[in-house]
Amino acid sequence: MAHAHRNHPTYWAFFIHRVSGVALALFLPLHLYVLGLALAESTAFADFISWSNTPGLKTLETGLVVFLTAHLTGGLRLLALEFLDWRSGQKSLVALSGGISLCLGLVFLLNAY
């Protein structure tokens, strides 16, 4: 109850935005490093790809895709809120951004298997 004041959709959207922002900041250097391995034509890249081809990692990747789209759609929502005229239905926009993220995650998951 100490944080009852936070229990509303736009607060949860803020929370997801922060967590996903930090996750992206941690993930991107790793991502670029692995892409760098491919350029270096070493076997390390192929090793990494076969290692990452396991169900557990694919599930983790799905989580990353959801985070990335959540950050993207949530970020666009915030930019629209701040730069365009105010529109009512902010909670619907949060739901829309969440829905798009989950759909894209599902598309990724279906393609991964």
Binding site: H8, T10, Y11, F14, L78, L81, W86
Partner: protein, 240 residues
């Protein structure tokens, strides 16, 4: 769940205080303010709380009710009691004087810092300004001036909690009404006062203020408007 008794836990004494629990008879159409008044009059006269108008005009009766800031004179017990119980705390983010009374000085000092006072350049001998009620700027101002200064948004805002110098939603809502007042001549100094992390740029648009404002105002929208004005003025080099 309707019971004939209400169990009310109230935070007593300020920072080093503790909860004290009272049994209060449940009445029809009872407000949270009625409950607190009953306790003070019938059980414990040392209980401190604030109110004045009892009808949602003065903004002095705000408290934390079951974890959320509310105006207690217009909050019915039936809407907020959980299993026949209420927990009352003073407003968050403000220094406690005693029991349910907080010191609102910081809150109103920040209105001053946000240049919340009108600055005109006309004298009483000049003609009155003609402002059309349908003017979009006038509509923005008309919405914002309904603020009753209750501090509920301020108590709800996490940025206020994280940065004690953050001006907060109400002060910036006030500033926004003056930016939209076409008689006001202090637009640039006002934008300078609210630009930056302690002002509109500190807001993360969480909208807790919008969620809780008892007058259904939109401080987040006001702050977004200030962000746009700040950006435009900064691009024109007006803020340096």
């Amino acid at each position: 769940m309707e019971t004939d008794q209400l169990s009310v836990s109230i935070w007593r004494g300020g920072d080093g205080g503790a909860y004290q629990t009272y049994q209060v008879p449940r009445l029809e159409s009872q407000t949270v303010l009625d409950v607190v008044t009953y306790i003070q009059r019938e059980i414990d006269p040392s209980l401190s709380y604030r109110f004045a108008c009892r009808v949602g005009v003065c903004g002095s009766c705000a408290m934390t009710v079951n974890g959320k800031a509310r105006w207690t004179c217009r909050t019915h017990v039936s809407r907020v009691a959980e299993n026949g119980a209420l927990t009352l705390n003073p407003l968050r983010n403000l220094p406690v004087v005693k029991d349910l009374v907080v010191d609102m000085a910081v809150f109103f000092d920040k209105w001053e810092k946000a240049m919340g006072a009108f600055v005109g350049d006309k004298t009483r001998d000049q003609a009155l300004a003609a402002v059309s009620p349908s003017d979009p700027k006038r509509k923005e101002a008309s919405a914002g001036i309904e603020c009753i200064g209750c501090g509920i948004c301020y108590a709800t805002c996490d940025v206020v909690d994280w940065n004690k110098d953050y001006l907060g939603p109400a002060a910036m809502n006030r500033s926004w009404t003056l930016i939209n007042d076409e008689r006001d001549v202090a637009r640039i100094p006002r934008l300078q006062a609210i630009a930056g992390d302690n002002g509109c740029l500190g807001c993360h648009s969480q909208q807790g203020c919008v969620e809780r404002c008892p007058k259904s105002l939109n401080p987040t929208g006001a702050i977004a408007g200030l962000k746009r004005h700040t950006m435009k003025a900064a691009l024109k080099g007006e803020l340096t």
